[in-house]
């Protein structure tokens, strides 16, 4: 659905994106995570054709980014969303329905569906200038999905929303996913990404440092808490040398395992060395920990 090949954008003194290579398949919900200024919005703008790449290319459905035919099948919600505030929501969506060549007999239904999906039904006759920021963001989302695109690019779609609004957007994303829509979601709200995305990418200072299915990131490392008595000190020393961030506090042992399969191995080692185990807890590292680890500790960039 979406491929980028060494996509780069350089400004006079800075590189916003460098050699970004991505491949997003049809139906995936891809979340791009990165701190502010990492190059997330620039990447999306290059994909939609608003920013010209310095080198490399982006292909949507095999066609170049910015291609007019591709835009009929693409929806985009910008981070800095603003609309003509002298229109009402219905007029704005009607304008875009015509731009996207939605047949006249289907226009009304398409607008009603989009408004209902984003929770603006009944508010469509209100002037946009009277809308709150959250309502404007919902309207932006309605505009992005109005023509039922195959690919939707959402740049910080919940930045102006309250928790209920965020939940609504998650529901919209789920419904789009059920329709088979591919979604590219830019966000730094980790919980939101964790709940909605099937795939993740991490960007730092314009470099894509890791990407893949979300399950790979979540199961890669486990945090184990063991209530243990008579722990062998040689084991403790070895784990320290292996860099497992081991910690022992009042019979509570905490350490990291590389993956889930390592958990029973470690437990067997404790028992084999004479340790008595009363309780074991193992949990995947949260996305926040993965994010901080990748962004703060990645030495490659």
């Amino acid at each position: 659905m979406l491929e980028t090949e060494k996509l780069s954008k350089k400004y006079e003194h800075t590189a916003a994106c460098t050699d970004i290579c991505l491949s997003i398949k049809e139906g995936q919900v891809f979340g791009l995570l990165g701190p502010n200024g990492a190059g997330k919005s620039t990447l999306v703008k290059m994909i939609i054709g608003l920013v010209r790449p310095s080198s490399g290319k982006a292909l949507i459905m095999g066609r170049a980014a910015g291609d007019i035919e591709v835009r009929y099948k693409t929806g985009y919600l910008p981070e800095m969303f603003r609309f003509y505030d002298w229109l009402n929501a219905w007029e704005l969506l009607s304008f875009y329905a015509r731009v996207y060549q939605i047949p006249a007999d289907k226009e009304k239904l398409a607008i009603q569906e989009a408004l209902e999906l984003v929770g603006l039904k009944g508010r469509e006759k209100g002037m946009i200038k009277t809308y709150s920021k959250g309502m404007q963001q919902r309207l932006g989302l309605a505009r992005a999905i109005l023509h039922q695109p195959a690919l939707v690019l959402l740049d910080e779609p919940t930045s102006a929303l309250d928790p209920l609004g965020r939940r609504d957007v998650r529901d919209v994303i789920k419904r789009l996913q059920q329709r088979g829509t591919t979604i590219f979601l830019n966000s730094h709200l980790l919980g939101e990404v964790e709940m909605t995305c099937s795939h993740l990418g991490f960007i730092k200072r314009g470099h894509l440092i890791d990407a893949g299915p979300i399950a790979d990131f979540m199961t890669k490392e486990q945090e184990i808490t063991v209530e243990v008595d008579n722990l062998n000190h040689d084991l403790f020393t070895r784990w320290n040398i292996e860099g497992r961030a081991v910690n022992m506090n009042d019979k509570l042992l905490q350490l990291k395992a590389v993956n889930r399969e390592e958990v029973p191995v470690i437990i067997n080692e404790i028992i084999g060395a004479g340790g008595r185990i009363y309780r074991v807890e193992s949990r995947s590292r949260g996305l926040e920990e993965v994010f901080i680890d990748l962004i703060e500790n990645d030495g490659a960039v």
Binding site: K45, M80, Y84, V99
Partner: protein, 278 residues
């Protein structure tokens, strides 16, 4: 294209500055008409006074048209200055430019809509000024000449609009507006210099005026429009020997140049907007 034109027309209707412009125009016409009324009242319009009234009436007509150029020019600069840059500054362009509309369609659609509005405004304003003179001073116009003059004058706001839109695709709204207005002022001064040069028989001054008209042919368009609309009246009036007059009338080739000028600058605006990162 038609969607952008319709949207832009709707925007113009909703702009407060346009409403204010219309109110100020009505006030201007009211003051101008009052001036004509008292001129006629004080001079009288019978016998020898009629010839004098015609001369003064023609002077006031030229003055009315000249003031109208400022109003039309301001309208063109105000509507064009934010046409691209303001949409970039407030982010509304992101929705438009990410849709299936080509960037050239966005520029051309806006130009057509703003062009229709400003041209219509200029023709109504000029007709109103002529109508007031016809009513109060009983100036006699050749209807075809007057119509041709008004048609030519419709190019006046288009030259300013295209310059402003080019600047708007390159600079911020403030810079675009100020720069366009400065170019407008330069061409006005160039026009003054040309007329004075013609009066004094100074070729160098005339050439300066021609060069300024090549930079922006708005003043040349104005003088061509005046020459067409006033017809035989202009030949017998002393007002032609002044900065507002047509002592030096531009060649009709200037009309061709103006149309080419608008085309080239519009293409440049499209080119720069297409290259712009949004």
């Amino acid at each position: 294209m038609k969607h952008v034109i319709k949207l832009t027309l709707k925007e113009v209707v909703n702009k407060r500055i346009i409403h204010l412009g219309i109110i100020l125009t009505l006030i201007y016409l009211l003051i101008y008409g009052t001036g004509l009324y008292y001129t006629v009242k004080d001079l009288g319009s019978q016998g020898e006074q009629f010839f004098l009234l015609q001369q003064i009436g023609y002077q006031l007509l030229i003055l009315g048209w000249y003031v109208s150029t400022f109003m039309v020019g301001s309208m063109a600069v105000i509507t064009g200055a934010g046409s691209i840059s303001q949409e970039i500054e407030n982010g509304t362009i992101l929705g438009l430019a990410s849709s299936p509309l080509k960037r050239s369609t966005i520029i051309l659609g806006k130009f057509i809509a703003y062009g229709v509005v400003t041209s219509l405004y200029s023709s109504i304003l000029l007709t109103a000024v002529m109508g007031l003179n016809l009513y109060f001073c009983r100036l006699v116009f050749d209807p075809w000449g007057a119509a041709a003059g008004i048609l030519i004058f419709m190019l006046f706001p288009l030259t300013l609009l295209v310059v402003t839109m080019l600047f708007s695709s390159l600079f911020s709204t403030m810079t675009a507006g100020i720069s366009a207005f400065m170019v407008f002022v330069v061409t006005i001064i160039g026009g003054f210099v040309e007329q004075i040069g013609a009066l004094m028989g100074n070729t160098a001054l005339v050439n300066i005026g021609i060069i300024s008209s090549l930079l922006m042919p708005a003043d040349a368009v104005y003088r061509l429009a005046v020459a067409q609309a006033s017809g035989t009246m202009a030949q017998s009036s002393i007002v032609n020997f002044g900065p507002f007059g047509i002592a030096s009338t531009p060649s009709t080739l200037m009309l061709v140049y103006t149309i080419v000028y608008i085309g080239v600058l519009l293409s440049a605006a499209v080119y720069y907007f297409q290259k712009k990162d949004l």
